[in-house]
């Protein structure tokens, strides 16, 4: 005669908890609902067909309720905004991909976000990249305002490097926010230990190019 087991409250509760955990785990692994920023990063890497990278640095992005995270790998450097919401889990957005060039002294790229508050446009800019040549000891970032905004200059040295896997050196610099900045250009110059310039990269005029 067939036996039909009775399920106790405890067993039923545990079964539902297990089902919940399995659904959460499946959602995380399959990218439906990312429980961690790392999973969100993997989804974006897959979408854009880059390799896997590792998180290196993180800064709060004011006004946007997001954090910017820098990640790097053997072939690319990525900068993207990450945010968590109960509705969607961790999500990454506005990713900028910088392809590494091993025969260059360094690679650099600009990342910007515009916020509007009381009809005032404020731009938050970040310069990031990878120092490819170990001989490069300093970087100078020159931000020139053409229409609106103001000029800015910054120098990055060894203390500012972010060291990744295999000793690769990255950088991430937050420029001062600019209001009503409509046109500008930006260049990054690398310097060797003896003060010689290793090259100047224009990074805000279409694709980066050497001067």
């Amino acid at each position: 005669m067939r036996k039909r087991p009775t399920v106790t409250r405890r067993r039923a509760a545990l079964r539902w908890l297990v089902a919940l955990c399995l659904l959460a785990a499946a959602s995380h692994v399959l990218g439906w609902y990312c429980m961690t920023p790392k999973r969100a990063l993997r989804s974006m890497e897959r979408t854009f067909f880059t390799e896997q990278t590792e998180f290196l640095a993180r800064v709060e992005l004011p006004y946007f309720s997001q954090e910017l995270r820098l990640s790097g790998g053997p072939d690319v450097t990525l900068l993207a905004g990450y945010s968590f919401s109960w509705r969607s889990g961790w999500q990454g957005s506005n990713m900028v991909i910088l392809e590494r060039q091993r025969d260059w002294p360094f690679t650099a790229e600009w990342y910007g976000r515009m916020a509007v508050r009381d009809h005032v446009y404020t731009e938050y800019s970040y310069i990031f990249g990878c120092v490819e040549d170990p001989a490069v000891t300093e970087l100078e970032i020159v931000y020139t305002a053409i229409r609106g905004g103001h000029d800015q200059t910054a120098r990055l040295a060894a203390r500012d490097w972010i060291t990744g896997e295999n000793g690769r050196r990255y950088f991430l610099y937050a420029m001062e926010p600019e209001e009503e900045s409509w046109e500008r250009c930006c260049s990054v110059t690398g310097y060797l230990a003896d003060g010689t310039a290793a090259g100047t990269l224009q990074i805000l005029d279409g694709r980066p190019y050497w001067e």
């Binding site: 089902a19 399959l30 690319v76």
Partner: protein, 253 residues
């Protein structure tokens, strides 16, 4: 007091049980009394006396009910309901991405085994109707199967066609699709503007995406008679490089 009244008095003390649990308890106590009454009937008791004796031996229904109620603490019921609510909430949240993912899995499988289901050169037309005629992209289409895998993603060329196969110079088209080696894995969205195409002798070819077609696209370029169409995708450390044979027919004299 009757059997029914006894059970009712027990059940009235149960405040922490669900409807299912209440029915189970009722069935169990009813069944017990029925077994006892049947045993007494077997001994020759008349039905009324059998029931009376049974009820007398059952004990105080309120006491039984209160003791039973204590065996059902709210704790696990709360855990169960909480888990159900969270599961439903999570299921609602992931319904759309899960549906999208199902589409990705479907694309992976179609592109791996039957890519013409996604995009068939024979089904496409350049401009639709031209001068009242339905114009096809390629009038001669050959099935090919060229695959390259990099980073867990396979790019597959599965059709090659020529607009005018007999002409000395014409437009060549190939159908290309992508799938992930892991059927449940995400497949990249390689967009046309990031594909660096070069044809024979370095001539540029172009890449066209057709809306509504998943991870499938066509590559086209001008070719001279007898040439193969070559295209390369190279970015972010990944590289695909194809030389595609084309279905050239007999030359025009």
């Amino acid at each position: 007091m009757t059997r029914r009244e006894y059970t009712a008095r027990v059940l009235i003390c149960l405040r922490r049980v669900t409807r299912q649990e209440r029915e189970a308890i009722q069935a169990e106590i009813d069944g017990h009394m029925e077994d006892h009454i049947c045993a007494l009937l077997g001994l020759g008791y008349p039905p009324e006396l059998a029931e009376e004796r049974t009820l007398a031996l059952m004990g105080d229904p309120a006491e039984v009910g209160q003791e039973l109620n204590r065996q059902y603490p709210f704790r696990w019921l709360a855990v169960k309901w909480g888990a159900i609510v969270l599961m439903l909430a999570l299921a609602l949240l992931v319904a759309r991405p899960a549906w999208t993912w199902a589409g990705v899995v479907s694309d992976n499988l179609w592109n791996r085994f039957a890519p013409t289901h996604q995009l068939d050169l024979r089904e496409l037309s350049l401009e639709g109707y031209v001068d009242g005629k339905y114009v096809r992209i390629a009038s001669d289409v050959a099935e090919v199967d060229l695959r390259q895998t990099d980073g867990g993603v396979t790019m597959r060329v599965y059709q090659a066609g020529l607009e005018v196969p007999l002409a000395p110079k014409t437009e060549a088209w190939v159908s290309v699709c992508l799938y992930s080696e892991n059927p449940f894995g995400e497949t990249p969205q390689i967009y046309g503007d990031v594909i660096d195409m070069t044809g024979p002798l370095g001539r540029e070819v172009t890449c066209t995406f057709f809306s509504g077609v998943k991870r499938s696209f066509t590559v086209r370029g001008q070719v001279r008679r007898g040439e193969e169409l070559r295209f390369t995708y190279e970015q972010y450390g990944h590289r695909f490089d194809f030389s595609v044979p084309l279905p050239w027919g007999e030359a025009l004299s």
